[in-house]
């Protein structure tokens, strides 16, 4: 494993590409909401809610944001330092069973 400074951005890391991906996502989202105008739910179970314009779109957005915020609110209550239960730092990682481990035991960190 080698560490190199993050100097060689891949396609996914160039800012203009990230920008393009976000624009693409927004366009698809708008199209999906507009698609609601062109079909009719033949078999709604909860008529008023399910047929509401773009219901699952805004519902998905709000649900996602709520979940993240609830998580952020929960964090201060339950966060503890990493050595809380198992103070020994060498406890953190399992044996990795790399084949080379068996040839030279203890050679690989």
């Amino acid at each position: 494993m080698s560490h190199t400074p993050p100097s060689d951005p891949s396609w996914f890391e160039r800012p203009q590409n990230i920008h393009r991906m976000i624009i693409g996502l927004v366009v698809v989202c708008v199209l999906l909401v507009l698609a609601d105008l062109f079909y009719e739910n033949p078999h709604p179970h909860f008529g008023k809610v399910e047929t509401f314009f773009g219901f699952q779109a805004w519902f998905g957005f709000i649900a996602f944001v709520t979940v993240v915020f609830l998580g952020a609110m929960l964090r201060p209550l339950i966060k503890k330092p990493e050595g809380y239960y198992d103070p020994e730092p060498e406890n953190e990682f399992p044996r990795l069973d790399r084949p080379e481990d068996n040839i030279n035991p203890g050679d690989e960190a």
Binding site: Q56, V68, A72, D86
Partner: protein
């Protein structure tokens, strides 16, 4: 041949697994894989019981047992367990650790045997065998933390088995039958006049523990991330889905399960948002997916049960895929913590692609497996006009998108570049992941193949315009919310920390609270022990003193004294003779 058909499904893995140590170390992994394939072939050709047939009975100690019941409900579980065993065995081909291969095979075989058990006693035996074999996959990590987590896991799992045994015994005493069938009838509740029987209570609790019901769930997040890279893949497939099968068999249509399932889909997603260890995130996500299945069991209509079985089937495959890809990252980088990862798509492109397919499948993107199975459960809630349940499942679906759809691939493979450059995963891991990824796509497209395996014939068409559009709306707007939160800096940053959960009660509170009692017990124990030792020592000293050369018993006595005592003894016996 009749002898072979009398053996429970999965037996080649249990019996063969126990003899894997006879093979040379290099051949053990291949041996395990061949056992899994052999068992799959045998299972495929095992005749399926028709709806009106009953399993073969044999009597032992006065009880009728049905050790093998392969019917329309247990067969899909048996099949997917076999697929999971094969995929996990391929994933573990590089491992040269005898313990893990034996444990993995026995565990898989026991889970298959359990889901084909027709009576509670057979179920109990395999139930405990899964617990005892799987704990070695946690212990194989060889760290003190994994040892302790394994101990907690074992205690909880064996406890579940004991409850099952208790329930089985009560059931036998009450009804005279050990048959494993529906324990509840229409309209029964947990408490009150129409409550379920004590036997059903015990058995439900046993299933609840293994199924990781809320408040009983924490063994899962505690132990799975501490198992070995390959062990976690095995673990993710069997235990909890065996519990889902058992619930579907014994408690289908039991209303309280709907509420429990709803809670189960919601709370893990909140914990998953702030969890740093990606394997723990996956454990929470596993919990949340089980919630969907529990809701399905609780609704209990034919569509809902079909949905539960289909979802369990797809779930085992995509969850293995996710655990495999994060496992590959752990294997190469040495950590699975979100804070340490990022930018790995450059060095592990194939793993990235497979992980994203798994993430898409669990989120329920159209053309992937989660879409065709999860929607059956959500539609079943709709058909029954359960508005609250339906809304909860939608929130949970958006939550799945959060932790498994976005968080796992994003923080492991993209996000900020951690600067770590590693090799791509080994060929066997890539092969296992590609099989699972292919299965995710195949099940999503060729869904009639999956539906044919399900217990009931139900007409269900997942690819309607309404369904595809609404599902895409939900998922892509959730993704949009992620982008918005990231751009605005409101998304909680990954932090190195452990988060408390219910395991705090038995890892912290109870040990601390009982420390006073422990001290008292130690004091009494020490005092008693000390005094006993003192008494023993003085007794020993006395014995030693009397038996040594100058002691009363050990010393040499003169002939006249001996003659005197012999005469005295004779005189006493003479007197006694005449009395």
């Amino acid at each position: 041949m009749s002898f072979l058909s009398a053996l429970p499904p999965g037996w080649p893995m249990i019996v063969g697994g126990l003899f894997l140590w006879l093979l040379p170390k290099r051949a053990q992994a291949a041996g395990a894989l061949s056992l899994a394939i052999l068992s799959t072939l045998l299972f495929w050709f095992t005749p399926v019981l028709a709806a009106d047939e009953t399993a073969k009975t044999f009597t032992m100690l006065g009880a009728d047992l049905h050790p093998i019941r392969v019917d329309s409900l247990s067969r899909p579980f048996g099949l997917v367990f076999h697929i999971a065993a094969i995929v996990s065995a391929i994933y573990a081909l590089h491992v040269r650790d005898t313990r893990q291969h034996i444990a993995g095979m026995v565990y898989a075989g026991a889970a298959i045997g359990a889901c084909c058990a027709g009576d509670l006693m057979t179920l109990f035996v395999f139930w405990e065998l899964t617990a005892i074999s799987s704990v070695f996959l946690v212990w194989a990590s060889d760290t003190p933390a994994a040892y302790r987590a394994g101990m907690r896991y074992l205690i909880i799992q064996v406890g579940s088995g004991v409850l099952l045994l208790t329930g089985a015994v009560i059931q036998y005493v009450e009804t005279g039958s050990l048959k494993f069938e529906l324990f509840v009838s229409e309209g029964q509740t947990l408490f009150g006049d129409s409550s379920i029987s004590p036997a059903a209570w015990c058995i439900l609790l046993a299933f609840a523990i293994k199924c990781a019901f809320p408040l009983l769930h924490n063994w899962l997040q505690d132990s799975y991330p501490k198992a070995t890279v390959t062990g976690t893949v095995f673990l993710s497939a069997f235990t909890t889905k065996l519990a889902i099968y058992s619930l579907a068999r014994g408690f289908a249509g039991f209303d309280p399960l709907i509420t429990i399932g709803c809670v189960m889909t919601l709370f893990p997603i909140i914990f998953a948002v702030i969890e740093n260890d990606l394997r723990r995130v996956l454990a929470y996500s596993l919990n949340n997916q089980l919630g969907f299945m529990v809701v399905g069991v609780g609704i209990g209509t034919e569509l809902a049960i079909n949905g539960t079985v289909a979802h369990a089937f797809c779930h085992i495959i995509y969850k293995s895929l996710l655990f495999m890809s994060v496992g590959a990252v752990l294997f190469r980088v040495g950590t699975a913590k979100a804070t340490e990862l990022g930018g790995l798509h450059k060095s592990m492109p194939w793993t990235t692609v497979f992980c994203m397919i798994g993430a898409g499948a669990i989120s329920g993107f159209p053309l992937l497996s989660g879409f065709v199975s999860k929607s059956m459960i959500i539609s079943a809630a709709g058909e029954e006009h359960m508005f609250g349940v339906w809304i909860v499942l939608l929130i949970a679906s958006a939550g799945v998108m959060e932790h498994s759809g976005i968080k796992i691939p994003f923080f492991a493979f993209f996000a900020h570049d951690s600067g770590k450059r590693v090799k791509e995963a080994p060929w066997n891991m890539l092969l296992a992941m590609s099989i699972a990824a292919f299965a995710c796509i195949a099940l999503g497209i060729a869904y009639p193949l999956l539906y044919r395996l399900l217990p009931f014939d139900v007409e269900y068409h997942p690819y309607t315009i309404t369904h595809v559009v609404t599902q895409l709306q939900l998922l892509l707007f959730a993704a949009l919310a992620f982008v918005a939160l990231m751009k605005s800096g409101l998304y909680p940053a990954e932090q190195r920390a452990v988060n408390l959960d219910t395991d705090w009660f038995y890892r912290r509170l109870i040990p601390k609270a009982t420390r006073g009692g422990q001290v008292a017990i130690e004091l009494v124990d020490q005092t008693l022990r000390h005094d006993f030792l003192l008494t023993l020592r003085s007794a020993l000293r006395m014995v030693q003193r009397s038996f040594n050369v100058n002691g009363l018993i050990g010393r040499t006595w003169s002939t006249s004294t001996m003659a005197f005592w012999a005469a005295t003894l004779l005189a006493i016996s003479l007197v006694l003779y005449y009395i």
